[in-house]
């Protein structure tokens, strides 16, 4: 028996007769003989469901997830309400296709509309799309949006404090296009805004910054939007949306476009994927936004209804003139974020953000006071901070792992310009005081 195939021998006979064909091989008669495989593929034979389960269990056992994690750097372990998994398990959602037939897809469409609303509220912006692949590719799409909106522009300025992967993805995205990418240096851990402003000139479409940035530091963007706008350019801010429960939103900073990743809102790390990229913007950029957008309208009886709109911008209509080739969004993953935000609500998101702040500062305080660990820079942070150890991080990590901790991210691995002693530590609301106290003790031991 082969799984998931319902045909009986009799079914096949009936169908062959109706199709006017003698045997199955004739169905492939239009294929040159030399192309039809004559021997089986070199993959194992199929298994029963139970055997699949056992095999996957064995594979999963090769992963270690018991150590308490203080890893961040773009993927975070947060508390996820049980409602999220429950809603995602509704197979009317998970086994549905993109809602091109709106009348029978009101569920997912309304879900997307709610997502768009919530992400607009968090980021303080006016319009949003139905999500993009991840925060890093979203930053590229924002750069494209800026280049398409500012006439006679070909340059994007971006901060060196963007996540290293965001910078790499930007470079890959534009490597074959006539676009000039210019990196603006940091000044003690945050963007050197003076340098940034100096580089504003005709031809600059937009400026991309991240806050909290790649070191977890919060960037003070006061006055920046005005300077950027004076130059006729757009301000693009990449922001961890969970931090926006507390921190000033890109909209409040005067940004034209906000991007980021909603993985911290309802999604597990899952070795990096899926996550959910978001892009929000001012209303006047709406018609150039990439990707799918859910809109509100009326049906023939005047009932409010939702549908995918502004599709004329998309690749399936504009084809090679499309400004983006993106076809899909992260629909189901975006729904996880929607359910998360609905569950936490406006007060819950504030509470979660505050807990992150306080817990991170607790650990930071104890480490700096009680161990030889030093702060990398003297900047304000949200739930992630870099420290300098008296030894190389590589020498400390395995000891910490033995004590039951993934102590943090070795910054030198992601960015060779970082010292080998620099460790990026993330603390979320999921970490308990008891875990942090043990961490401090383990660190003392590892450094002795």
């Amino acid at each position: 028996m082969i799984a998931y195939l319902p045909h009986t021998e009799e079914d096949i006979k009936t169908m062959l007769v109706a199709a006017g064909i003698n045997d199955i091989e004739q169905l492939f008669a239009d294929i040159p003989r030399e192309l039809v495989l004559s021997k089986p593929l070199e993959i194992p034979e199929g298994l029963s469901e139970f055997e699949v389960y056992r095999r996957m269990q064995a594979l999963a056992a090769g992963n270690r997830v018991e150590p308490v994690s203080f890893l961040g750097c773009g993927s975070y372990q947060h508390i996820i309400p049980s409602a999220v998994a429950h809603v995602l398990s509704r197979s009317e959602f998970s086994t549905s296709y993109t809602p091109y037939q709106a009348e029978m897809s009101q569920g997912i469409l309304q879900g997307i509309f709610e997502f768009q609303t919530m992400i607009c509220e968090l980021t303080g912006m006016e319009v949003a799309n139905a999500s993009l692949y991840d925060g890093h590719t979203a930053a590229s799409e924002a750069a494209v949006l800026a280049l398409n909106s500012v006439r006679h522009s070909d340059t994007i300025l971006y901060s060196s404090t963007l996540h290293p992967f965001t910078r790499q993805v930007l470079k890959t995205h534009f490597s074959n296009l006539p676009v000039h990418l210019e990196e603006v240096p940091a000044d003690n851990g945050t963007t050197d805004l003076e340098q940034l402003v100096e580089r504003l000139r005709p031809g600059v479409a937009g400026v991309v910054l991240q806050s909290p940035n790649n070191l977890g530091y919060i960037e003070d963007l006061s006055g920046l939007a005005d300077r950027v706008h004076e130059n006729g350019s757009l301000l693009i801010v990449s922001a961890n949306p969970l931090s926006l429960g507390l921190l000033k939103s890109p909209g409040e900073w005067g940004a034209d476009i906000a991007v980021g990743d909603t993985q911290p809102l309802g999604l597990p790390s899952y070795f990096g994927g899926p996550s959910v990229g978001y892009i929000t913007a001012t209303e006047k950029l709406l018609r150039k936004m990439p990707g799918r957008i859910a809109g509100q309208s009326l049906d023939r009886e005047g009932t409010r209804a939702f549908l995918l709109t502004l599709q004329a911008r998309e690749q399936h209509i504009k084809r090679e003139r499309a400004t983006s080739n993106i076809c899909s969004n992260q629909a189901l993953a975006a729904l996880a974020t929607t359910v998360y935000l609905a569950s936490l609500g406006r007060r819950g998101i504030r509470e979660v953000a505050e807990q992150n702040l306080h817990k991170a500062h607790y650990l930071h305080g104890r480490l700096l006071k009680e161990t030889p660990v030093l702060a990398l820079h003297n900047r304000q942070f949200f739930n992630e901070f870099p420290v300098v150890l008296p030894k190389k991080v590589a020498e400390v990590l395995s000891g910490m792992e033995e004590s039951g901790f993934f102590a943090g991210v070795e910054l030198h691995c992601l960015d060779p310009l970082m010292p080998e002693e620099a460790l990026l530590i993330a603390v979320t609301e999921r970490r308990t005081r008891e875990e942090m106290d043990r961490y401090v003790e383990a660190m003392k031991e590892a450094l002795s």
Partner: protein, 490 residues
């Protein structure tokens, strides 16, 4: 305006309601102002809803019941391969040991997932007849973009940057030319001939040293196998070009024919099509890219490699096109696809291709008397009908047929694609549908054809049994409303 009792979550909001209880803060809470400058704090509260947990569950459960998935019924969307999504895949994908894995964990602690990714790549390479690849692209279109960048990198390395043109058949999906363009290529359309296949004549006009290559899918979007493929790949290779395979239609030939053997240099797959992972209402998907030996050095980083002591992420690839995504791709989708491959195995996959094609030909033969069949010949896993005759004689369009299908609880086929067929209806049943399901579809389609002749108004008014009727797309595009506004709350 009547809402028919279908509120937005924001409209259920009541100040003071909370939907989730967090653990209490167990560390001292200092004054906010001592930790952060007040200027860094947000001033305007985000207007997220305030609802209770039961509201959340009821609201989204109600929404799910206003949605349609493969688990509810037939979904013959051409080029989408809406096959059954096995539930064991969901169960194993939910293992904590897969979910909680952080992408920057020590590799020694991620050997399970790394092994899975490696073995998945190996099996996908074998299925496609390619040498190796990457799992990073998040979707088919992302895979196409990757493929085009691989082309660019290869030619740049060879010092052949004059190769600027990529050929795309006029029947291709819109992402093809869009992706080529984004990688810096000029797109040139190749015409289809009367057979519905790539015209060799049209192709030969472009065989010169400015040719980078061609993007094709085989079978094509009409569901027809490009019989001249060996001649095409020879011709392109002879002038130093490369061939890109859009794997959207792989379900027709999986286990029977391999794109690598046809001469393709780059192949992208859609795990959410051929390999059964759920479409999720539009994502997340996974679009792995497999390549021939020529293109191996240019693959994105990191690669997943196996070395004596285990599996590793390898970044040392000097000629790589770079990073395409933040981490390693949609791993949760890879886990599901791998479980599917484990269940199907080599014999299962071969059967998939056979039965997908059998189902399609069966439907085609049974429907061709009720609808126009522009290409009346052996098809692969999908075929295209045309409602052009209905439109000319009865004023009824492919859209009207599609909307009427909704009233019968069946998701319509793809409409108005490919562009080379007027009033197109592209039907792909997939191999997981039974004879009974197919027969019911035939019966419904014949009923609709009869209604078109006898009472076209029924189609024009359709759908009438869905939660909403036909929606004003023009209004939506003229005055776009893409979010709820607080002032609207009554």
């Amino acid at each position: 305006m009547s809402e028919k009792n279908n509120p937005l979550i924001f409209e259920l909001s009541k100040p003071g309601r909370r939907g989730y209880r967090l653990p209490d803060l167990d560390v001292p809470a200092g004054e906010l102002s001592s930790l952060l400058d007040p200027g860094l704090l947000r001033e305007r509260e985000p207007k997220l809803p305030e609802v209770s947990e039961i509201d959340v569950i009821r609201h989204y459960t109600a929404l799910s019941r206003r949605n349609y998935g493969v688990d509810l019924g037939f979904y013959p969307l051409g080029s989408c391969t809406m096959k059954y999504n096995p539930k064991i895949n969901e169960q194993v994908a939910a293992f904590e040991a897969f979910q909680q894995l952080h992408p920057l964990q020590p590799e020694s602690c991620a050997q399970g997932t790394l092994a899975l990714m490696h073995e998945l790549l190996r099996q996908l390479s074998e299925v496609t007849g390619m040498s190796w690849g990457t799992l990073q692209p998040f979707a088919g279109a992302h895979g196409e973009f990757t493929g085009m960048k691989l082309f660019k990198a290869c030619f740049q390395k060879r010092g052949e940057s004059g190769r600027t043109k990529v050929l795309v058949p006029d029947s291709a999906h819109g992402t093809n030319p869009a992706s080529a363009h984004l990688a810096g290529f000029e797109v040139v359309e190749v015409h289809s001939d009367s057979r519905g296949l790539v015209s060799l004549e049209s192709l030969k006009e472009h065989l010169d040293e400015t040719l980078a290559g061609i993007m094709m899918t085989n079978p094509n979007t009409l569901g027809l196998f490009e019989e001249d493929i060996l001649e095409i790949s020879r011709a392109i290779h002879d002038v130093g070009g490369l061939l890109y395979y859009d794997g959207a239609n792989l379900n027709a030939i999986v286990g029977k024919v391999r794109p690598g053997d046809m001469g393709f240099d780059v192949v992208h797959l859609n795990l959410h099509k051929t390999f059964s992972t759920p479409h999720g209402g539009g994502g997340p998907g996974c679009g792995p890219v497999l390549v021939s030996e020529t293109l191996l050095p240019f693959l994105p980083v990191p690669d997943v490699v196996k070395r004596g002591d285990g599996y590793h992420l390898e970044n040392n690839r000097p000629d790589s096109i770079g990073r395409l995504s933040g981490f390693y791709g949609n791993v949760a989708v890879m886990v599901r696809a791998y479980a599917y491959l484990l269940a199907m195995g080599r014999d299962g996959l071969a059967r998939v291709g056979e039965l997908a094609v059998l189902n399609a030909n069966y439907l085609k033969e049974r429907l061709k008397d009720s609808y126009e069949l522009p290409y009346d010949r052996l098809c692969k896993h999908e075929f295209v009908l045309s409602a052009r005759g209905l439109k000319e004689k009865l004023g009824v369009t492919a859209l009207d047929v599609a909307k009427r299908l909704l009233d019968f609880g069946i998701h319509p086929p793809t409409v108005y694609f490919p562009l080379i067929v007027q009033e197109a209806l592209m039907i792909e049943p997939t191999e997981t549908e039974s004879l009974e399901v197919l027969d019911r579809f035939v019966q419904v389609m014949k009923t609709i054809a009869r209604e078109a002749a006898e009472s076209p108004e029924t189609l024009k008014q359709a759908p009438t049994s869905t939660p909403v009727r036909r929606i004003d797309e023009v209004l939506a595009a003229r005055k776009p409303i893409v979010r709820w506004h607080p002032e609207e709350q009554s």
